[in-house]
């Protein structure tokens, strides 16, 4: 009791000294050393990150990190239980030196506290689903009924990024019943909170098949006034060392947390050696960490250069997040998508023409049964929605081929074949119509390889309309996970939530591609017609 009052007095003194003199700023680190104890706020209700053991002691992943910090600062440790509601308030009051309590790093929190980089952990959102549910990608959940719990901060964001049909329930029990009764196919929840649920035998038959998304890094927080202090510097060094040495990963294993990809990546990043043989992630002359060692989403335009500076500047000034311009990974993803879409356009256009010409030639070949068969098939093919055809071939036939021959089917090939077949069937009829007209003009006309150009020229307008339509439909390849433009754009939206920007960029890019194809065909038509005149 006496001690507590003593610390309160010291805190008060420290506070008044900060207020009294601007230049000779007292560092909280001096206070901690003088006091000989580090006071850390941790959670008591978040197993196994912060909880009470049988003796009522605060234990867990976060208390362990606090102990490591105290050890490195060569001071004693005092843990104080905090809640999500009071942790930052206690910090500001000076009742505690720092908060290590599942605190996600957000811009709002950065305004009221100093959040320390590197981050020490990260949580994300994932789904819990019965073990026999087929789920391998987040897009498998698009439009499906997914249970969620009332008040979770990520509900709206997830519904918007992945187009989920969220069924909101009041609590964990209600969500579990709904999931068991099949009223939804999965339950959306915080991945770190699911860890403790998994220990419950009632959840034994459930799995988390999807990688965590909306990953938010957790930071140690100190008071806002301590920004740039030696205390901040010292804590950051300890956390960086804990990443380098694998201490955090060992702690994660000790507390039976599932392996977090965040910690694995951070370990890799912090142990990387540059071309000069020096560690990449070492403090710069300014005392800052290099930009590539920091969380990309926390950077501001003043901290980086080049395209990244330009992109972040636009984001800060206008709110437009052009990640596909400044983020190297997104840029690669977007350009790969664009290139695949261009390949799809060309392949489907040529494929449709090939199917159409071969079909029309066979139909007119004069072989008795074959001609009729081709006409009938083309008539049915024209009435088959291409999306269903893609599903039929990729999943239905694909399953047969894999189980019987062991060949996995390629999504790009399936999409090209199906779209070519669909548009090819319409092309057959356009050519046959042209052939009828030509027969009216020249009684001895027969559709053969040699007379095909004549028929194509006559059927130019309808055939081009068919080809432009198939170009517009190439996006359907995205439903079987071909990483083309739509897949790439929705993946970037899922990662960054910049829905407005990405959807407009996607729309404009696709529109320009279609326009380009239309103009190319128009130019071709002019040349063909000119040749006819001469």
């Amino acid at each position: 009791m006496h001690q507590a009052r003593g610390w309160g007095l010291v805190c008060l003194l420290a506070l008044t000294s900060i207020l009294a003199s601007g230049e000779a700023r007292a560092d909280r680190l001096d206070l901690i050393h003088k006091r000989g104890t580090l006071i850390v706020g941790v959670k008591a209700d978040y197993p196994p990150l912060g909880m009470r053991d049988a003796n009522g002691q605060l234990v867990g992943f976060e208390p362990d990190l606090a102990a490591e910090l105290a050890r490195r600062l060569s001071v004693g440790l005092q843990l104080t239980a905090v809640t999500s509601a009071n942790r930052l308030q206690k910090l500001e009051e000076g009742a505690i030196d720092m908060v290590i309590a599942t605190l996600g790093d957000t811009p709002q929190r950065r305004r009221i506290a100093t959040l320390i980089e590197p981050h020490y952990y990260a949580s994300g959102v994932t789904v819990l689903a019965p073990a026999d549910t087929r789920l391998s990608r987040w897009t498998d959940l698009r439009g499906r009924k997914v249970c969620a719990t009332q008040g979770a901060y990520f509900n709206r964001e997830m519904a918007e990024r992945y187009l989920l049909d969220l069924q909101i329930f009041n609590g964990i029990r209600d969500a579990r019943l709904a999931l068991r009764d099949g009223r939804c196919i999965a339950w959306l929840y915080d991945d770190t909170a699911l860890v403790s649920l998994r220990l419950d035998p009632e959840w034994a038959n459930y799995r988390t098949p999807l990688p965590s998304t909306l990953v938010s890094p957790w930071a140690i927080a100190i008071a806002a006034a301590e920004s740039g202090s030696r205390l901040e510097h010292a804590i950051a060094d300890v956390v960086a060392d804990a990443h380098r040495s694998g201490w955090l990963i060992a702690a994660e294993q000790r507390w039976n947390l599932p392996p977090s990809s965040f910690l694995a990546e951070a370990h890799q990043r912090w142990t990387r050696i540059g071309t000069d043989g020096q560690p990449v992630c070492a403090r710069l002359a300014s005392g800052e960490w290099p930009a590539e060692c920091r969380d990309a989403s926390r950077l501001t335009s003043t901290e980086v250069s080049g395209l990244r500076h330009f992109g972040l500047l636009i984001r800060e000034r206008t709110g437009f997040d052009l990640t596909f311009v400044y983020d190297a990974y997104d840029r690669g993803q977007f350009l790969t998508g664009l290139w695949l879409t261009v390949q799809l356009l060309v392949a489907c256009t040529l494929g449709s023409l090939l199917v159409g010409c071969l079909g029309a030639l066979t139909a007119e070949s004069g072989i008795p049964l074959l001609g009729g068969w081709v006409r009938a098939t083309a008539a049915i093919g024209r009435m088959t929605p291409p999306l269903l055809l893609i599903y039929l071939v990729f999943f239905g036939l694909g399953h047969l081929i894999v189980t019987r021959f062991g060949w996995p089917v390629d999504g790009f090939l399936v999409a090209t074949a199906c779209l070519s077949l669909y548009a090819g069937c319409s092309t057959v009829f356009a050519l046959l119509d042209a052939s009828v007209v030509l027969k009216g003009r020249q009684p001895d006309f027969a559709l053969r390889w040699k007379t095909l150009p004549q028929a194509l020229r006559l059927a130019y307008t309808p055939v081009v309309a068919i080809l432009v339509n198939v170009v517009k439909a190439t996006g359907m390849a995205s439903v079987i996970a071909v990483p083309e433009l739509i897949s790439a754009s929705t993946a970037i939206v899922a990662e960054h939530g910049n829905t407005g920007v990405m959807m407009n960029v996607l729309m404009i890019t696709y529109f320009l591609l279609v326009l380009l194809v239309v103009r190319l065909f128009a130019a071709l038509e002019r040349r063909v017609l000119q040749r006819d005149v001469h």
């Binding site: 439009g143 918007e160 049915i380 929605p385 439909a473 996607l506």
Partner: protein, 227 residues
């Protein structure tokens, strides 16, 4: 075909399809409703654009041509995603919260193609009508109906944004049945709905068109003979 070859008996296949028929059929009703909604939504602006193309002011004609070209070249499938992501799930209007259902987003996306179609075809029909060739102008009606069938086929894409129509229901059945061998048959069965609905109607519309065309040409030659 020997169904046993595919590790399922034909009775199993028929039984599964029979059990799920009401579910799939009601899904197909959604496809037709979405398509009709798309046709209705797209026809009105199409009529305005077609009318503008016949205006005396060149600027009106020009504006209509630009908009029509735009509508013609917008890829419907991409536009579907665009609307799905950018129109909020619900919106507030004078204190009331209204939901914006996914099927309406699908109908809106599909209607873009309808605008272009109506603008082009009605423009031609209107000109025929003004020239006194009423029979040729009336060809617009069977053309419009044939276009509805194209939209019905395109409505299957609504499944990708979570509309509960026939293709989405196929995937629900596959997940519920849990037999990979049945996928092929379920998709084939769904395709048969489209073929059986669209094929006779498109044949009928072609027949109507042909009869109207012959009547139109005979009327025209009669007129010529009289004059």
């Amino acid at each position: 075909m020997n169904a046993g070859y595919f590790n399922v008996t034909s009775t199993e296949i028929l039984e599964t399809l029979w059990v799920w028929t009401p579910f799939l059929a009601s899904g197909f009703v959604w496809n037709i409703l979405i398509s009709l909604a798309a046709m209705l939504i797209g026809t009105l602006p199409g009529i305005i654009l077609a009318r503008m193309r016949l205006a005396k002011h060149q600027s009106l004609v020009h504006a209509s041509l630009v908009v029509t070209e735009l509508m013609r070249n917008i890829p419907t499938f991409v536009f579907l995603f665009y609307l799905a992501f950018l129109i909020p799930v619900e919106f507030e209007f004078s204190g009331q919260v209204y939901a914006f259902p996914a099927w309406l987003k699908a109908a809106l996306a599909l209607s873009v193609a309808v605008v272009g179609f109506v603008s082009d075809n009605l423009h031609a029909a209107w000109r025929h009508w003004r020239e006194g060739d009423h029979a040729a102008a009336l060809l617009f009606i069977p053309s419009w109906t044939s276009y509805l069938l194209i939209i019905v086929m395109a409505s299957s894409t609504a499944s990708v944004i979570g509309v509960d129509e026939i293709v989405a229901r196929c995937n629900v059945i596959i997940a519920a049945v849990g037999r990979d061998e049945l996928m092929l048959w379920i998709y084939l069965y769904a395709i048969s709905y489209f073929v059986l609905f669209c094929f006779p109607l498109s044949r009928a519309m072609e027949a109507v068109k042909n009869r109207m065309q012959t009547r139109a040409s005979s009327a025209l030659s009669k007129k010529k003979r009289e004059s």
